[in-house]
Amino acid sequence: MRFTRTLHFLSNWLLHRSKAEADLKDELFDYVARQTERYLAAGLTLKEAERAAARDVGSLESLKDTCRDVRHTRWIENIWQDLRYAARTLRNSPSFTLVVLICLALAIGANTAIFSVMNALMIRTLPVQQPEQLALLGNGQASGTNDDFAHNEPDLFSWPFFNEIRKHSPVFSDILAVRSFGTTAYARYSGAGDLEQVHVRFVSGNYFSVLGVRASAGRVLLPEDDRARGASPPVAVLRYGYWQRRFARDGAVIGRTVQINGLQVTITGVAAPAFFGVVVGSLPDFWIPLTAQAHNQPSSDELFGPLTQSLWLIGRLKPRISLAQAQANTDVRFRQWLHAVAGSSPSPEQMKKMERAHVTLTDASRGPSRLRRQFSRPLQIVMALVGLVLLIACANIANLLLARSSAREKEMGLRIALGASPGRLLAQLLCESLLLSFTGGCLGLLLSFGGVRLLLAIVASGGTAVPLTVELNGQILAFCFGVSVLTGLMFGVAPALRLTRVNVSPALKEGRSVSGSRSHTRLGHTLVVVQVSLAYLLILSAALFVSTFRNLEQSGIGFDMAKVLVLQIDSGSIASSPAALLNLYRSVEARIRQLPGVDAASFAELTFHEGHWRAFAWPEGAPRTEANGIQFNGDHVGDQYFQALGTPIILGRGFGPQDTMKSQPVAVVNETFARTLFPHVSPIGRRFSLSEQRDDGIEIVGIVKDVRYESVRERPVGAFFVSNSQDIDPDGYSDLVIRTRLSPQQFIPEVRTALRSANPGLVISGQKTLTEQVDDSLGKEKLLADLAAFFAIVALLLACIGIYGVVAYSVARRRNEIGVRIALGARPADVLGGVLHETFSLVFAGLGLGLPLALLFGRVVGSQLYGVQSNNPLYIAVSAALLSGTSLIAGFIPGRRAARLDPLIALREE
């Protein structure tokens, strides 16, 4: 009650502040007037009457204050006054204000930008109803398709299991299925000519109803849309952002048909604006029911087979059911289902696998995300680094305020002498700091929008933008506000406390007040030492991260990456059979090889960092059981693949025209494969099988050098290659690898023309040089290296400004002393030496404090480093030298000024 009344008065005050003040004035004026009239009536003269009335009232202002006090408006009045006073003071020193605001905006902006990305990736819950009730089966680590009989904790599940587990679940109110990977597809709208690249996510029909996501136009997917395979007409729901971008939110799009990779679908609606799906780091344009795929893939039995496991399942827990209860129930039902799949007489091997198979449940309130796993740690490190930059900026601003405060000592002394309470002065000074930090924070918030875009661009280097929606929300605003207030207090408290402890009498005397300045200098020195130590930490960590990135980039992937162009080509919609596809590939390869400057050209199913095809292989003669098999990476490639990539063939031959459907099946394997499967014997001419059921009898005809296939950091992996001519992957997604003597980028238009003339229906969905592909795989290392280097430079600059400020101030304060010394015969070099000595004592103190901090930090981030130790003495020394060298300049400028001081002028000032 009391609180609401106060609130009422506060709002009243805010709205009618001037009226309330006028009322108060009028009311008291009325009293004075009546009192005057009474004294007049009693026979006094007008002057006497007025004086008597004024005596009765006493101090009008203090009476007003008492009245305001009663109304609880005095503190607001004070703050209001303080703010206006602070704004006036800051306006009077525009250059100081500008410098501080720039520092603050950059530091707070950087912090807010990184927090925004962290928030979107790691903190924010899914924009669905009651996300805390969602549970993911498995932990979402794996994506893709798996056809193993489950023998551990699976992440991927099959369509039949999904339908089984949904039935009569005592723990889930319902379960949805979503394909664990998105599909890049090509869409052609009815009436529009061109193919457009779109992202599709296949989901179950109950996807939207389980999540509780509504349509913003039309309707969302319904369970009826996903009834039986191929039985419901294919429909699709658009993402709001896509609808906005592609159709400018035109409602007429509902009911239109669109051909997506040959599948005719009708658009039924658009999802709610905030909804981006359940996978953080993936932005589908279309959601299409899983069963719709049966329409254009007649042989879709495989897609819906009990062991075709490609789905993530997310359940909504019933009220009052815990994750553990749900897990126990799901695990039992999973094993029952496995038994049913294995049939009445499971093999001993299947029995063994079933014993080991368990389903775990994880919280899905934030949705599964590969991006999160990859970038959580780097983002946390970067957050720590920008936090340190903010601290350095705070120290700098505190130092600026200190320097300014010596100019204000007189003002403060006067105000204290006139009776201002120290608390009131402190409040007023803090008000100034908070006004600064808050304005800086608002600017920083604006800057952070650009920062977020920059961050996402760094992560996405060369490739497409990171599909992550980062929006301003309450959490980000609260973070920015909190950081601003904290910043203001951090840089404001120490100078303010010092100012309010001003000794009145010396402060009011003419000339320089020595006592105050000495404590100021000590505080200023401490701040600079802290700055230097933090800057040292940042510089050393930047050196480590940059060298990690360089090491990884240079260690490369085992072959010559320059001048290799990789084009991603989708020909699935134009080649109907494997034979047609092979013909298409061959004609394209032949055409490209004819282009001038081309050394080699070949299709390959997978190139570096595009995922993997893992398959079991058995040497000829060995029993083909899973226990006996070894898993290797496989790839389907064209004839000139090894030449195109520049992988040396160590032994035997590559693929050639002699390898056909009718000839002996052959393979080229790498060194690790050969060593693993055929130890101690020559592998050429040996045979192996990739099938558990029958002996393929694939003959090894060549050995190639080991290279890296998925990541620069990977250990040697065994790999085999089969020829497109003998075994082609029928889905038509393939990479065309071209080695050229020309600049690959300039070469692209020619290649495109050649491809169009080979077949106008070929779609090029991506083009990169191999170097770019390798860089893309180093996204998080690049993020750390770029940002650490950038913030290290900022920190170095800020620290140098800090050193300059403190040294320059100390020189200015000692002008008389220096003047006397020069007059007494000190040489300029001695004076300069003295100043540099002061500078270096600051820097070395900072380095001494910074080194243990940096070593500690290095140990914490050790797992992110590659090819360099966090205690590398060279880096420790070089970083220290860099910092000392730069601060030498910062100290040299005021030092030289001191050395050139004219003693006559300096001494006359006293």
Binding site: R5, D23, D26, D30, Y31, A33, L63, T66, C67
Partner: protein
């Protein structure tokens, strides 16, 4: 000055103001005059106590104010008691009675 407001028992000023406003709405100066007059010039309340007390009562919701303009063209603020103020008055008057009887019974014990 016979009695300064500071000598008034804490809270009595509120009681006096409420009692006077219960009779008729008045402006600040007149309230002070009325207190002096009704107490046979024993009690005098200066503006330094009167106005903060009035504002406190206004904020508590026991009195309310209305502005009017007098013949001299000055804005005048008239206070009147609210229903809550009347309840408060009754309670405080009863309290005061008990207290004064209690004190009298000790002080004038014969």
């Amino acid at each position: 000055m016979m009695s300064k407001p500071a000598d008034l028992v804490q809270g009595t000023l509120d009681l006096l103001i409420l009692k006077i406003l219960a009779l008729q709405p008045l402006h600040g100066w007149a309230i002070g005059e009325r207190i002096t007059q009704m107490s046979n010039e024993v009690l005098q309340v200066g503006p330094g106590s009167l106005y903060p007390a009035l504002h406190k009562l206004e904020q508590a919701g026991w009195v309310e104010a209305e502005w009017s303009v007098n013949e001299a063209g000055r804005r005048v603020k008239f206070y009147s008691i609210t229903p809550e103020g009347r309840d408060r008055l009754q309670k405080e008057a009863a309290d005061w009675k008990r207290l004064s009887v209690a004190i009298s019974s000790i002080v004038f014990e014969s």
